[in-house]
Amino acid sequence: MLIHTLTSNYYGSNCYIISEGDHAILIDPADAGLVRDFLSREDLTIDLGILTHEHCDHVYGCSAIREEYNCKMIASRICDINLRDNKKNYSRYYNSFIEIQTRLPVDTQSKMDPFTTYADEVFENEKTLEWCGHIIVLRETPGHSQGSICIVIDNSYLFSGDTLMKDDSTETHFIGGDKEQLAQITLPWFKTLPESIIVYAGHGESFRLGDKL
């Protein structure tokens, strides 16, 4: 199994493509162009897309990739609800936010139009999948956003979205963020995982779980 990290220059977020032979799973298709470029070089069939949470900088390319690669997207039920609202997915505010952070006007390529999208399949609490001999667990991990989930593959790899990142603390001030749920539900669950698990976050570098907790 290979894990390919595609980092968007426009949105700063990580999309992951996990491949096994000529099959692949895609996580957080923010930058459709980046995904297209990668897939044009690789002979892969996307079996499934998984969305870690509803924030626009992680899902902007969802609809395009779903349509172009006939790829079903899975997310938590709450994530799906929030994807359908351009306030809750933050696309309504994205350009203003970037201008505030960078103190520069948003350039044309990074500009994001307000959008809505959706998940084709939803789950609540936890869902286990088998894919190409691998066990994939999807689990709701509230805190950063209402719809946040984490994805664990073979108890060895954790895809955490913005819930857990190497160098930054978890932001809980967005709409639907909840520091109590993070502390009482999500962080205790992280502590049940092996410390040796490698975490692939929505932004930044991968890291060993035990080095963060």
């Binding site: 306030k87 309504r92 505010y93 203003s96 936010f97 201008e99 505030i100 001030h173 967005f174």
Partner: protein
């Protein structure tokens, strides 16, 4: 909406205790006045006042009162 109601909204949005935010306070002096607070303000203006706040608008805010005046 009265100024006191607006202040309450801002205190809740910025996670400040009641009474912690003064209308004449300079924003630059507030520890909470970071990019996240500005984004929170954009969302609040949209939800509560139906106004779309742009970054250029925010740059013009010097005091809390400037925000309150914008919330008309």
């Amino acid at each position: 909406m009265s100024d006191s109601e607006k202040i309450k909204l801002l205190e809740d949005a910025f996670e400040l205790d009641e009474g912690e935010l003064a209308a004449d306070a300079a924003l630059a002096d507030l520890d909470c006045w970071d990019s996240m607070a500005k984004l929170t303000l954009i969302v609040l203006m949209d939800e509560e006042c139906g106004k779309i706040l742009k970054s250029d608008d925010i740059k013009k805010f010097v005091t809390v009162q400037d925000i309150l005046d914008y919330m008309e």
